[in-house]
Symmetry: C2
Subunit: 346 residues, 2 copies
């Protein structure tokens, strides 16, 4: 049996100082002689001492925790972000606590408050991280702010305040991938929108329009359908697009799931991708390289998004100055097989 874990008292005894000095060293406070500091550090090392987060939180009423609040899972998306959050937490000695608020739309304000009020039982968290759709939920944001919990939102959203936001430039990314389609020789390009109330839909559509404008291609609204960000939506929109008298040469679906639907629609109709139809998506989700053909799409740095949000939140809780609330991270065009390339001319 392992004997009971060492306490701060034990470290103090071994180092020959008071526990207060140990506490100071551990919290990187100033006003400790280098010599004592070193002694304490060796004692910590020797005993394998790990501070009790509970005792610490209880006294200081800070959680040394980051809360990640998720909706029903957006699967790969949420998961990759979570990996980044965990990484940043571990780097900084924080614990990650994950909770879930399902169908927040159907909860009363009181229920939301109740849900969130259980959150600080381990001390007031140093921050809460929200992703869509919760990041867009007015009541969740307000309740957290009222509780004094700093928020970091990941991804596109519609709320305008001084909380931290980390995201990619969706509009620019959408413009780029549309431009790629144009550069590959396409002019009749369909677009499938996502959920109508989401900023991601608006931004990606704006990027699509921008690229057309840049190349002086007239926007043809009959080539634009809505697909709700879901496979089924993409499938149906794809079928309509392909049934047109003059179908598009390429389709830009506002996310990968819908792009998968377009691919299915094409296969069902015996239309070959990419030789007869080019398709691109957005997200580079788990399915993107497992389709046939593999999907050209936009990759968001999901892990880095989570990591950055967490680091900013921690920095802010430590009252470091000069933290910009808005941060854009670079995206990347991932070229695979789903776009037809112009015949090579030697």
């Amino acid at each position: 049996m392992p004997q009971s874990a060492p306490k701060m008292k034990d470290v103090a005894k071994l180092a020959g100082v008071s526990i207060k000095t140990v506490s100071r060293v551990l919290n990187n406070e100033p006003h400790v002689k280098e010599e004592l500091r070193d002694k304490v550090k060796s004692a910590v090392e020797e005993l394998g001492y790990v501070p009790s987060a509970n005792a610490r939180s209880l006294r200081s009423n800070r959680g040394y925790t980051i809360h990640f609040i998720i909706h029903n899972n957006r699967s790969n998306y949420v998961n990759a972000i979570q990996a980044g959050i965990i990484k940043a937490c571990q780097d900084n000695g924080y614990q990650l606590i994950v909770s879930m608020i399902m169908d927040s739309q159907n909860l009363s304000k009181k229920q939301i408050e109740e849900k969130l009020s259980r959150l600080p039982t381990l001390g007031v968290p140093d921050g809460a991280i929200l992703v869509s759709p919760l990041s867009n939920d007015e009541r969740i944001n307000t309740t957290l702010k009222d509780m004094g919990v700093p928020i970091a939102r990941i991804g596109p959203n519609d709320i305008d305040d001084d909380q931290i936001e980390v995201k990619i430039n969706e509009r620019e990314a959408a413009r780029e991938i549309t431009q790629y389609l144009i550069d590959s020789g396409h002019t009749r390009i369909g677009f499938i929108r996502g959920k109508e109330d989401q900023n991601a839909t608006i931004e990606r559509y704006a990027g699509y329009k921008q690229a057309l404008l840049d190349s002086r291609i007239l926007l043809d609204e009959s080539l634009v359908y809505s697909g709700n960000f879901e496979f089924e939506g993409g499938l149906k929109a794809g079928e309509k697009l392909l049934d047109m008298e003059k179908p598009p040469q390429a389709v830009f679906a506002a996310n990968d799931d819908m792009a998968a639907g377009v691919l299915s629609a094409a296969h069902r109709k015996g239309i070959s991708v990419p030789s007869e139809l080019s398709v691109v998506g957005f997200d580079d989700s788990e399915i993107a390289d497992k389709m046939w053909p593999t999907l050209t799409t936009i990759r968001q740095p999901l892990l880095e998004l989570g990591e950055t949000a967490t680091n900013l939140l921690i920095a802010r809780s430590q009252k470091l100055s000069g933290i910009e609330p808005q941060k854009y991270l670079p995206h990347k065009l991932v070229v695979r097989e789903s776009v037809k390339q112009p015949a090579h001319i030697d």
Copy 2:
């Protein structure tokens, strides 16, 4: 500003009892008169009192936390399980703490101990939940046991002790889906194995063999390839299988990712699925219904797996008796489009 959260003291005052009585009611201890119990409960309700997990843990040295320790993400799989864990935690007033141990193979025993020793900073957790591949890591299991942390493992694994295990009957599920292929008129059925050192591979292969045996179909080892549970592996194995002089009529890939690879191999060769080749997978992962054609596969009740593991862990930590350490949950054959059905005879 919200005034500071109510304490047990406040509840006691409002209910007109000692704080000890409040504590007893909150912890469902016996020996409290119904009348007082009700008074306390109303007071808790009225004040919206939520106990401080920190204070509680500090005194009792229990965490009221469940730790979910994950490897690099197995994406949808881990995510769905996590949703179940969160649900059970919330139902029982526990918090979920997630940590990650990457490439445990390359860590020294000491590093693993160090990683895990940070785990009980919020009080000794009531349990740790492990999924493959960490659930198979001898050193992680041993270290947790030495720390006195009960373990629940989800999914197939190779360790034999009295810790909790929740899983489906992989062998039986594999037998069923193979039988489904046979019932659909196939006799030449290829099999693609997963990672060779994993129990899942062994069990699923055993189920495949059993079904063949049951139908007196001779096992043809030339129809069995290895694919490492990955898309690429499935693609390559699929190509080899389809290049055979006498290719199989159907392929059972030991997971969906590999099945996606087989579909791609078929498409690339212009072989139509399911009319010329039937394909089935295992997992019903996120991609299964986004392929073309959609994939017939086995669904594990992932959310329930996580939920059950957590509930058992909590029950065990409360020393409830009669908890069976091994629990099998029902799987389900999900029939979609990737298997050819015999021509209907009127």
